[in-house]
């Protein structure tokens, strides 16, 4: 198990484009496919050409953003998970998409379509520690196209900066984006802090779950599955923000301190599991330094997800992550069966933590069993 790339872990892909295909293939050209070709070839110029051609063919700017650019960004995530592109290529593709969005703004058709009347003022930001800025950027663009005044603060906005911004500008609402489930505790802090300033919070992004369950759990005022519905919800007017409260009021189960103790002892847990794995999995003794490093990172991710599953008290968050990890490892040709001994070792370390033990037992049920003697060695490091 040496293949979850540095930080690429997310619960699902980063952007959604429901029903996009039918729109983008209108006419004779499949714009999303053409943009994908340019973006995956790191060809910024032709990427801009494709998007301009789509605009000039009559596709409106919002559809280009959501059904072409966002669709391609979704595919970037899928391709990465399938090990067909690297993290660095993922970043390059994202950078090109960002530039394409910037270039769209300067296209005369987009400038002409942009309404001047202001419907209201929205701040769009990514949660602290969240680097996937594109979904938030696309939302900011869509809102701008629909006549909102938008302050886009970008990726990984420290909560104190966000709150300072809200005090200075007093927007009608703040839209917070998070893709990584491990950012949920940070998202919770940010949501509560924003509400304490009297600003209603709209949330979106894969981190909040496909049905928005974590958004509700963390007390967000509104959750939207995609940029279109976010824009529509904003258009309907937002409710009064939840009254100022302590974050722990939303999650009474935190009183058992398991989240605190597990996240605080992360390094010790990772170290103990590494030591244990070397005893249990003979193949690991032959790992290269790089393979070992990847394994350490993978265990770190497991502990991170265990912690966030404790935070949300949601078993499916942990089992879903493990199933996804097993798939990614398999896609990278790395046997996933070291996951189970790692979970067993964690369970032994955390035997005094009933909720954590329960999560780890559930997790063990979702990962492949170690095979018999025939396939017992992992080759690892196929990254």
């Amino acid at each position: 198990m040496t293949a979850t790339a540095n930080g690429g872990i997310r619960s699902t892909v980063t952007a959604r484009a429901p029903g996009g295909a039918a729109v983008t293939t209108a006419g004779t050209r499949d714009w999303a496919e053409e943009l994908w070709t340019s973006v995956s070839g790191a060809d910024e110029g032709s990427a801009t050409d494709v998007v301009f051609a789509a605009l000039e063919s009559g596709l409106d700017a919002e559809s280009v953003l959501l059904d072409v650019v966002a669709a391609v960004q979704t595919r970037v995530g899928v391709e990465w998970a399938a090990n067909r592109i690297s993290v660095a290529q993922e970043h390059a593709a994202t950078a090109i998409n960002e530039r394409v969005i910037g270039a769209m703004d300067r296209h005369p058709l987009v400038a002409a379509a942009r309404p001047s009347a202001h419907r209201g003022h929205v701040t769009v930001a990514c949660i602290d520690g969240e680097w996937h800025a594109l979904p938030a950027r696309i939302l900011a663009q869509v809102l701008g196209l629909r006549g909102w005044r938008v302050d886009y603060l970008g990726a990984q906005v420290p909560t104190p900066h966000l709150i300072g911004h809200l005090h200075r500008t007093a927007p009608d609402a703040v839209a917070l984006s998070a893709s990584l489930s491990t950012r949920l505790p940070a998202a919770h802090m940010a949501i509560t802090a924003c509400q304490a300033t009297g600003t209603p919070v709209l949330t979106g992004g894969a981190a909040f779950g496909p049905d928005g369950r974590y958004a509700r759990q963390l007390g967000a005022d509104v959750w939207a599955p995609d940029a279109r519905s976010a824009a529509e919800r904003l258009g309907e007017g937002l409710p009064e923000p939840a009254p100022a409260h302590q974050p722990v009021d939303d999650l009474p189960h935190l009183s058992d301190q398991e989240y605190t103790l597990v996240s605080r002892s992360k390094f010790r847990l990772v170290g103990a599991v590494m030591t244990g794995l070397e005893d249990r999995v003979p193949a690991m003794r032959d790992y290269t330094e790089l393979q070992r490093q990847h394994t350490v990172e993978d265990i770190g991710h497991i502990v991170d997800f265990l912690a966030v599953a404790l935070y949300t008290d949601d078993r499916s968050l942990f089992t879903g992550f493990l199933a996804w990890t097993a798939d990614v490892l398999t896609a990278r040709g790395v046997p996933a069966f070291t996951l189970r001994p790692a979970l067993d070792l964690l369970a032994a370390e955390l035997r005094d933590f009933p909720r954590a033990r329960d999560l780890l037992a559930a997790g063990s049920g979702t990962v492949p069993s170690p095979p018999g003697p025939r396939g017992g060695t992992g080759d690892g490091g196929a990254r």
Partner: protein
């Protein structure tokens, strides 16, 4: 009847004559049998043996009494019926008795059944308790209103929002419409008004506050004026929210600020609404005190934030972009999440007619936070002034060193200079480090090289030495300048490990051919994930990339890339 009395007397029970409380004994049909002296004071002379006599004085008691016969008879004398009827007579079941009004006093009647079908009603005068309870409930309600209003007012440090909350809270409890008028430093008055059930609306007017009695004084915050009820006819049209209709009563309440005027609150009620009583006036003043404190705090914060923003603007790292066909991108993360600036800095000075090289500089001042940032500002200004000398890095560094030595700052700095000049599809770069980690070059094939340049740090020794490296960047190749905050970042999955140059090089090896900002973001993300929630130093990275492919040569030209920056 006599038998009952004598029995009671035999048992030593109180009789109507000796009872310290008013007692009236009623027969089963409601006729008054006996009345204690104190009850007589309450009831007056009620003729005895007339079933309807009591009804004219205390119908609620008569009804309750007759109801006792319909309901289940209480089993014990101490447990009177709770199922007494509540009729149109004003009686209402209350606990284990009945309550009603008599000459404006609140009486509670408690029935004690006698053995012969008569009932002894004890009448308790609880008017004072009732009044106290009403007063308590009112006071609780006022306190709850003030507490909730306070927490809403305290939530924001934004003046407009505080004014919005002020009118919203005022119409929730105090008035049918409310107008907040901001203190007027200029000539225009800023108003926020709200009608109950509506939303706050902001407006400005050039009308004079003198048109409203007491408003000018309230806005100036001096001399102190009490809130005052003024003739509603004196309300000018601009003050009354649109669609409000005729004003029944109106009050001007000053918002006391913290040494500065915070404005005034005008409360309006409809003609048919109740007038304000003394309690409500007190409540309005208490509310205004809180609103005034919130508005003036917000005003102070806004002023401070504006000052900070202005000063900070010069210290923030600039936005980098493509310059003369070469991509420049930078990223910066200060040590403290609260901070926006720190001891790392970078700048890019585009080539000019005189100066044909674009100069990129990335540096690190000893220390963190605002103090270090102030010195970065000085260094950046000094470097800007020295731009004509960028042809000679050694000379530039010598002059900068001299400037730093003579300043009162005791801090020192390290920096790296990169002078870039495009030659066809390649870029010629001269790189000089002054005590700074050597930059790395990412070649198109993924090989990562360290640039061979070294030099002494700035601001310590009277003389500085340096060696400048020359290199060429081909299409898709990048030069990466970074501060030691990245390579010395501590963290990793096991904690405590240094990120190190090797890990940085390994990451950069995957970045060949990537756009400059993608490399910056990648390095920043990897470093941020390495430190996790741990502490870290300022982290800065600047990437200079030669774009690959022909497309970017169209930038600024007439090709399809016409809208590209």
């Amino acid at each position: 009847m006599r038998r009952t009395e004598s029995e009671s007397a035999d048992r030593g029970d109180v009789t109507p004559d000796t009872s310290p409380y008013p007692i009236v004994v009623l027969s089963a049909d409601g006729s008054v049998l006996r009345v204690s002296p104190s009850a007589r004071i309450l009831l007056g002379d009620v003729p005895q043996d007339r079933p309807d006599a009591l009804r004219s004085r205390a119908p609620w008691l008569a009804t309750a009494h007759l109801g006792l016969a319909d309901g289940p008879r209480p089993p014990a004398p101490s447990a009177p019926s709770t199922s007494g009827p509540s009729g149109p007579s004003g009686a209402e079941p209350w606990g284990d008795g009945v309550r009603g009004l008599l000459d404006g006093r609140s009486l509670e009647g408690r029935p004690v059944p006698g053995t012969d079908g008569s009932v002894t009603w004890w009448l308790l005068d609880d008017s004072d308790r009732q009044r106290a309870e009403r007063e308590l409930a009112r006071e609780r309600e006022r306190t709850a209103f003030l507490a909730e209003a306070s927490s809403r007012l305290l939530a924001s440090l934004n003046v407009e929002r505080c004014m919005d909350v002020t009118v919203l809270e005022a119409v929730r409890r105090l008035a049918d419409a409310a107008v907040v008028i901001g203190p007027n430093p200029g000539r225009r008055l800023r108003l926020v008004s709200c009608v109950r059930g509506g939303s706050p609306a902001a407006a400005t007017t050039t009308q004079s506050p003198d048109m409203v009695p007491g408003l000018s004084e309230a806005l100036q915050g001096f001399p102190p004026v009490p809130s005052r009820w003024i003739n509603p006819a004196a309300a000018p049209a601009w003050l009354v929210p649109e669609g409000f209709g005729p004003v029944g009563s109106m009050a001007v309440v000053p918002l006391p600020g913290q040494g500065v005027p915070a404005g005034a609150l005008v409360l309006l009620r409809h003609e048919d609404g109740a007038a304000f009583d003394e309690n409500e006036e007190t409540l309005a003043r208490l509310f205004a005190a809180r609103a005034g404190a919130a508005v003036s705090s917000a005003r102070l914060y806004t002023e401070q934030a504006a000052i900070t923003d202005t000063l900070m603007r010069e210290l923030l790292p600039p936005r980098l972009q493509q310059t003369r066909g070469v991509e420049f991108a930078g990223g910066y993360r200060p040590a403290g999440d609260q901070d926006r600036v720190g001891g790392d800095f970078y700048d890019v000075h585009p080539a000019t007619a005189d100066q044909r090289e674009t100069l990129a500089v990335l540096g690190d001042v000893c220390g963190k936070g605002l103090e270090a940032a102030v010195l970065t500002g000085k260094i950046r200004n000094t470097l800007h002034a020295l731009l004509p000398l960028t042809g000679d890095h050694q000379r530039l560094l010598t002059l900068l060193n001299r400037a730093l030595l003579t300043s009162h700052h005791t801090r020192f700095a390290t920096l790296v200079l990169a002078a870039v000049r495009r030659e066809g599809d390649r870029a010629r770069v001269r790189v000089t480090s002054a005590g700074h980690p050597a930059p790395l070059v990412v070649r198109a094939d993924g090989v990562v090289e360290r640039v061979e340049t070294r030099g002494s740090l700035i601001g310590v020794l009277p003389d500085v030495t340096s060696t400048t490296a020359n290199l060429m960047l081909g299409p898709g190749e990048s030069l990466v300048l970074f501060s030691d905050g990245i390579t010395e970042a501590r963290g990793g999955p096991l904690g405590g490990a240094e990120f190190g140059e090797d890990r940085l090089r390994a990451q950069l090896a995957g970045c060949a051919g990537m756009p400059a900002e993608a490399i910056v973001e990648h390095v920043q993300m990897i470093a941020a994930q390495w430190v996790g929630a741990g502490r870290h130093d300022d982290m800065a990275v600047v990437v200079i990339s030669m774009p690959h492919g022909a497309h970017l040569s169209m930038v600024g030209g007439t090709g399809p890339g016409r809208y590209t920056a």
